[in-house]
């Protein structure tokens, strides 16, 4: 009979046995590229360890960050060094406070500052950029001119100015960092919106009677997300850097709160007395955070924006 031979059956099997090639979405593609990036994955791991440390570290602390160890205070150099017996795993600072707890507190602050500062910049900058780019025309011109003017003032000076004018507090610090961070974000988002808004699918949405706001929210925003995430991830270390710089000068967060920049400043002030651990512990955490953030940002950029290579 026709087609009953072994060979034909085999052939038929081979022809019909195909698996549908699964399409990969942009995000799956990006995730694969990111996971394959060794430096970025290692950085995620290290950063995860640091975050974990700030969460469970306090349960192992023998001293709180505000207690002063009076026994040690008189002779910080001789008795305040890192040791397990006294419970000061990282030693004590110049006033006899436990450095272990202070480092945990400072790391938490710096990470929060980076995340919240970048998030503020992200939200404000994206809204502003989409609005300017989508509305276009004279409004766009005026809005971007305003951004240009603000960009002309050195960012650190604006932050110092704001902190001096409005008083130094946590809240103000976030506002000030967000206030300078959103400018570049707004520019990037506007540029992207300009190229997106003339594409066919936007036109189609408009023809279908979708409202302008919904177009911005449903159609433009998701297409911007890649660029926005990449830039935000690069913004986080920048925020931490700026905050530390300002805290180093003594203009940022004030006692009893502390940040890594402040601890490094204190450690740098006392390193001449032979209490080197006061500088090295915060410094190590700081450099580790910044380097891992850089690698993660780079990895995200390679993953989400492969053209850029």
């Amino acid at each position: 009979m026709l087609g009953k031979s072994q060979k034909a059956a085999h052939l038929a099997e081979e022809i019909t046995d195909y698996t549908v090639i699964q399409g990969r979405s942009l995000w799956q593609d990006a995730r694969m590229r990111f996971v394959r990036n060794k430096a970025a994955m290692a950085s995620v791991f290290v950063l995860g360890l640091i975050v974990l440390f700030t969460i469970i570290g306090p349960y192992f602390a023998a001293w709180s960050n505000e207690e002063i160890d009076w026994n040690v205070m008189g002779d910080v150099r001789g008795m305040g060094m890192p040791s397990i017996e006294t419970g000061h795993y990282f030693g004590v600072d110049d006033l006899g406070r436990d450095l272990y707890s202070r480092v945990i507190q400072a790391t938490t602050t710096s990470l929060l500052v980076g995340l919240i500062g970048a998030a503020t910049a992200l939200i404000v900058g994206t809204c502003y950029g989409i609005a300017a780019g989508y509305i276009g025309g004279r409004t766009d011109n005026a809005m971007m001119r305003f951004v240009d003017i603000l960009l002309a003032i050195p960012a650190t000076l604006i932050i110092i100015l704001l902190l001096v004018v409005a008083g130094r507090s946590f809240f103000m610090l976030f506002i000030a960092l967000g206030a300078v961070g959103w400018l570049t974000m707004a520019r990037i988002v506007r540029g992207q919106t300009l190229t997106l808004k003339n594409r066919e699918f936007i036109e189609a949405a408009r023809a279908a009677g979708v409202s302008e706001f919904t177009i911005m929210y449903r159609h433009i925003l998701p297409n911007l997300l890649g660029v926005v995430i990449v830039y935000a991830s690069l913004l986080v270390p920048e925020m931490i850097l700026t905050e530390s710089f300002i805290s180093f000068l003594g203009l940022g967060i004030s006692e009893p709160y502390t940040s890594l920049g402040r601890l490094i400043a204190e450690g740098a002030g006392t390193m001449g007395y032979g209490t080197l651990w006061q500088l090295l512990y915060p410094l190590t955490f700081y450099v580790a955070i910044i380097i891992t953030m850089f690698f993660i940002g780079d990895g995200l950029r390679d993953a989400l924006d492969p053209k850029d290579r």
Partner: protein
């Protein structure tokens, strides 16, 4: 080109004016002032002091006088804190110092960063490349206020080679550490930008053509690849200059070089608004001018840009 330069200049001027006005109002809505102290002054005395500095005038009048003095006489008014000095004196004393090591570190960062980046790109995937990339990343994570303590620890406390601070008329021993501290992280980013830009250029068609017609590698790189490579670097130099300016605030404090940064942070802490305002405006105006120069340089560098 000329028309473009003029247009850019015309935008720069109102930008600086707006900057002055914005900073002025920001200062004046601030609660408390240089004359608020723990022991309140008698109201008559306070009124006298305020009259002396013109603070009793209506706000628009103050603003007008301030603007007028800056534009016509280039005078930023008297300092609120130091009775015998005005803002111009403070700037004239500190700015040359900040400018000296600022421009030096700018040059060092650019020269070292660009050469490192080019070397890495030419010897792509060799140990030179890996070394340069590693150095660039490490340098980027070491901003000035981290480099400062590390340098002092190494060169002053351990090796005892260099003085830990001071200016001493700009002798080279006093210059080394401020310049390195300020230059390192920007050197890192410049090296990375140069490297990726050079790699892109070396893979482009016109370089292949140049190679194909038998030009020696040296000529290919210097005559053909260098200029397009430097385009993105030039556009980054404007921001670097601004960072160097703000970074000098740290260097002045940490190395006690006596530059403008010390005056700036001092005035921020003592609410000497006149100095704060003057220095912010000076730096803002410098930034605008440098951005203008960067754009013009960019236009000169890149023949494709038409206005």
């Amino acid at each position: 080109m000329l028309a473009y330069s003029l247009r850019r200049l015309l935008i720069a001027i109102p930008t600086i004016l707006l900057l002055i006005v914005a900073c002025f109002f920001l200062m004046h809505v601030a609660p408390g002032g240089p004359f608020t102290s723990e022991r309140p002054l008698p109201p008559q005395v306070l009124a006298n002091i305020e009259a002396r500095y013109g603070l009793d005038q209506p706000l628009w009048k103050q603003l007008w006088d301030y603007l007028y003095n800056i534009v016509v006489h280039f005078d930023f008014g008297p300092s609120f804190k130091f009775k015998d000095r005005d803002v111009n004196d403070i700037i004239a004393q500190g700015f040359p110092i900040s400018l000296t090591y600022g421009s030096l570190s700018f040059l060092v960062a650019t020269a070292v960063g660009v050469s490192l980046g080019i070397a890495a790109a030419i010897k792509h995937n060799s140990w030179i490349d890996y070394f340069a990339v590693g150095l660039g990343i490490a340098a980027q994570a070491l901003p000035n206020f981290i480099m400062g303590p590390i340098l002092i620890l190494t060169f002053t406390l351990w090796l005892g080679w260099l003085p830990g601070g001071g200016w001493n008329g700009g002798q080279w021993q006093y210059l080394v550490m401020p310049v390195i501290a300020l230059a390192t992280s920007y050197m890192g980013s410049i090296a990375r930008i140069t490297r990726s830009s050079m790699l892109e250029v070396l893979n482009s068609n016109f370089i292949r053509t140049a190679r194909a017609k038998g030009l020696p590698t040296r000529t290919v790189i210097w005559r053909h690849a260098l200029k397009p490579t430097l385009l993105p670097v030039v556009s980054y130099l404007g921001p670097v200059f601004v960072y160097v300016l703000t970074g000098s605030v740290f260097v002045d404090i940490y190395f006690s070089t006596g530059g403008l940064g010390q005056a700036y942070v001092g005035s921020a802490l003592s609410r000497d608004y006149a100095v704060l305002l003057g220095v912010t405006i000076l730096y803002g105006a410098l930034t605008v001018v440098v951005n203008l120069l960067t754009d013009l340089a960019y236009a000169w560098f890149d023949p494709k840009i038409r206005y």
